[in-house]
């Protein structure tokens, strides 16, 4: 193995990246863009959702209940109407996400004793939003109901604890329940996939398409030197991007980082080598840049996006799909990222994810090495 030859190839590759604006954009602009996009855009924290109210009672009690809704940050009472069809229309048109209907005999029933129902009509097109909304609404109503009961019981000479069971919830690792904390670490997997596989998939195919490959392999440079020389710059760039993204995540988005930087670097390096090998292999096999880049996107980026646990939780997928996720290295990398960032899990306890990832790394690297021959046919 000649270092001179390897470096000659690497230097050429770097020059080509610099000279090609779009490749440069991918390396420099894309990581930041993806971070910003997902950090801000993918947000499951809802607040100030528009609510229509139909208060058919208009009593002090119903007003009290409504005040409770208004005082939470989740709801914003936008309009008060006097009939239910108006609420239905508002839901249809999207002007309201929820409608509250308080029946005409609300205060009457309460003073007589017995239960009374308040309706929450929720736009469930987006089931996630609906779930969250209904949960909050339930909380408000229960709080109100309990308050009434306590007062009533006291008036009848009974003291009862208002809340028989106190549910104390501690959310571990992500105290503010910020969705960005859960999503942002996974963005690194996306960035690595684009740089590692997408960009790399172009390198060999491009040389074939342009004709420079023939000249290259007519020189004494070996297949291994070509492969390493081509992939080295992307490895360096990839690791730099990991650092940039990590800094953005921690300093800008305030994602907690409780683990060790070494472990982060090591896991990222493993994943990077995996996608680099995959990209290289695709480039050798696909022959044309267009085909190579499409295959790379479909095999690495899409699974990293949809099936790695980055966005959609794997445990909630159908079992068959859960099984399929084991086939993608991104799954292990995203799990590692979350554990390292949010849980601070030490390396020794990460073997269940590191070992399979390392396995992929080794296998794919071998496949890539064997796939490229200095032959014209």
């Amino acid at each position: 193995m000649s270092l001179t030859r390897l470096l000659a190839v690497a230097r050429k590759e770097v020059l080509q990246i610099i000279r090609d604006t779009r490749s440069l954009a991918i390396v420099v602009v894309m990581p930041v863009t993806l971070m910003l996009l997902f950090g801000y855009g993918v947000n499951l924290d809802l607040k100030e959702l528009p609510v229509y109210v139909c208060d058919q009672d208009g009593s002090q009690q119903s007003q009290d209940l409504l005040k409770r809704f208004q005082s939470t940050k989740y709801f914003e009472i936008v309009r008060v109407v006097d009939n239910v069809p108006a609420i239905e229309h508002a839901l249809d048109s999207g002007e309201a996400k929820m409608g509250i209907v308080i029946p005409w005999n609300f205060s009457q029933r309460l003073s007589q004793g017995g239960s009374v129902q308040v309706q929450a009509i929720v736009d469930a097109t987006d089931d996630n939003t609906a779930n969250v909304l209904m949960g909050y609404a339930q909380g408000v109503v229960q709080g109100y109901s309990t308050g009434i009961q306590v007062a009533w019981l006291q008036a009848h000479g009974l003291t009862l604890q208002p809340v028989p069971i106190n549910v104390a919830t501690r959310t571990w690792y992500n105290e503010d329940l910020e969705s960005s904390a859960f999503i942002i670490p996974g963005v690194l997997a996306l960035v690595m996939s684009v740089i590692g596989a997408f960009l790399t998939s172009l390198t060999i195919a491009r040389e074939w398409e342009r004709g420079s490959m023939e000249q290259l392999i007519s020189t004494p440079v070996t297949a291994m030197e070509i492969m390493l020389g081509k992939l080295a710059p992307y490895f360096v760039l990839g690791m730099i991007d990991v650092a940039v993204c990590a800094v953005l995540a921690i300093a800008w988005f305030h994602v907690p980082f409780r683990g060790s930087y070494m472990t982060l670097a090591f896991s990222s390096a493993l994943f990077l080598v995996t996608v680099l090998s995959l990209g290289f292999f695709i480039s050798v096999v696909a022959k044309s840049q267009l085909a190579a880049s499409q295959i790379a996107l479909i095999i690495t980026f899409l699974p990293a996006f949809l099936l790695s646990g980055f966005l959609f939780s794997i445990e909630q997928m159908p079992v068959v799909l859960q099984g399929i996720t084991y086939l993608f290295p991104a799954r292990y990398y995203v799990t590692l990222l979350k554990k390292i960032f949010l849980k601070g899990t030490p390396a020794a306890m990460l073997t269940a994810d590191l070992l399979p990832l390392a396995g992929f790394t080794v296998v794919l690297a071998l496949v890539a090495t064997r796939s490229f021959h200095k032959r014209l046919e």
Partner: protein, 377 residues
């Protein structure tokens, strides 16, 4: 003129079908997106792995636990005696929820004091955590109310019927079973059309430029507008075809109801297609090679789908993102899609969206055609 148009149409369709890569784009992404968004992408939760720690060993604690074991949302994997064990399991990622019932639970309940229930949630997936804790609260409070009733019954049975209480009747509209699939799959029509039309159209136009046949065609008596229509018409038809295909799969395979009117959906689809074609033409005017078109298309499609409300509510995004989303045609088309599928609304409600798409489409096409004129001269 129609004769020439017909010729171009036929040629274009032949090229698309013959080229293996475009054939793949026609089939691959639709299948993948349908599978993923029909099955993998879900915000629902069920069988969240849970462990219970019972240090009270009373009838009440067992009763409470049984409510969790019988709930479809939770999968109680173990009942432990030691809280530390539970903590370790969460640390190791072997369980998502740990519920602790301390000793003295039943006693407190009987005395009318507040009994504590400790919940630890692994919030690395904050969405699951949020919804799961909301369900925990609901179950716990349900049990609490029952305990409360029993208490009152044992003290003052005559009051049982007179206690006021307010209940919330939850009425989820349009999607009563809260299926994520109903939210995503209609949206896939939009995301897929975006992907297909933009990539296929921009490739087709750029390929001619790359090969040089563009000049060849311009020398013929064809007029630029004819050329553009001829180039884009096939993809308009393909977009139409694929959208209908997904619609059919969505209705018959995924059983998503279609409550609206087909003409409304079609109008929206046509307007949306025009917007996408305009975008594709614009991309092709700034790309010299198919490779460049691919990268540019990727950078356009990603934010488009993210900001459009496809998977994540626009309302939860920062203000500036919400503003930006007004320029994205997909945003409006998604409203139309979900409106016709799930809400069953018509033009009277959806006209603002139609108008917006028409406006953007007209603007985009005009700019594209002007640029095209300049580029060809």
């Amino acid at each position: 003129m129609f004769g020439r148009l017909k010729q171009m149409l036929i040629k274009e369709l032949i090229q698309v079908v013959r080229d293996k890569r475009t054939r793949f784009i026609l089939i691959g992404p639709p299948v993948i997106q349908m599978l993923v968004f029909g099955y993998a992408a879900t915000f629902e939760i069920h069988n969240v792995s849970t462990v219970m720690v019972d240090m009270d060993h009373s009838q009440e604690s067992r009763e409470l636990i049984s409510r969790f074991t019988s709930s479809p949302y939770f999968n109680v994997q173990a009942q432990l005696n030691d809280a530390n064990q539970a903590h370790n399991l969460i640390d190791q990622g072997k369980t998502t929820l740990a519920l602790e019932i301390d000793a003295g639970f039943a006693q407190k309940l009987r005395k009318g004091e507040t009994a504590p229930l400790q919940v630890i949630v692994d919030a690395t997936n904050s969405n699951t955590a949020l919804i799961a804790s909301s369900y925990v609260s609901q179950i716990a409070l349900g049990y609490a109310q029952q305990a409360q009733q029993q208490r009152i019954y044992s003290i003052a049975p005559q009051l049982i019927d007179q206690i006021p209480s307010v209940q919330l009747e939850q009425r989820p509209w349009y999607n009563p079973d809260l299926r994520s699939r109903w939210f995503f799959v209609p949206g896939v029509i939009g995301s897929l059309t975006t992907l297909l039309v933009i990539t296929l159209t921009s490739f087709a136009v750029v390929r001619e430029r790359e090969i040089g046949t563009l000049e060849q065609i311009m020398v013929t008596p064809i007029r630029p507008v004819e050329f553009i229509v001829g180039k884009t018409l096939p993809f308009f038809l393909i977009g139409l075809f694929d959208a209908l295909l997904i619609g059919i799969v969505g209705t018959f395979w995924f059983q998503i109801p279609f409550r609206g009117h087909i003409p409304v959906l079609l109008t929206g689809l046509v307007l949306f297609l025009i917007c996408m074609l305009g975008m594709a033409l614009l991309i092709s005017t700034v790309s010299a090679t198919q490779q460049q078109a691919m990268v540019t298309a990727f950078f356009v499609i990603m934010p488009t789908i993210t900001f459009s409300g496809f998977g994540f509510p626009i309302r939860a995004m920062p203000h500036w993102m919400q503003l930006a989303s007004y320029a994205i045609p997909l945003r409006y088309f998604l409203v139309v899609l979900r409106g016709t599928y799930l809400k069953g609304v018509g033009f009277d409600i959806l006209w603002p969206q139609m108008a917006a798409m028409a406006g953007i489409g007209l603007f985009g096409m005009t700019v594209a055609i002007l640029r095209f004129h300049k580029a060809l001269d």
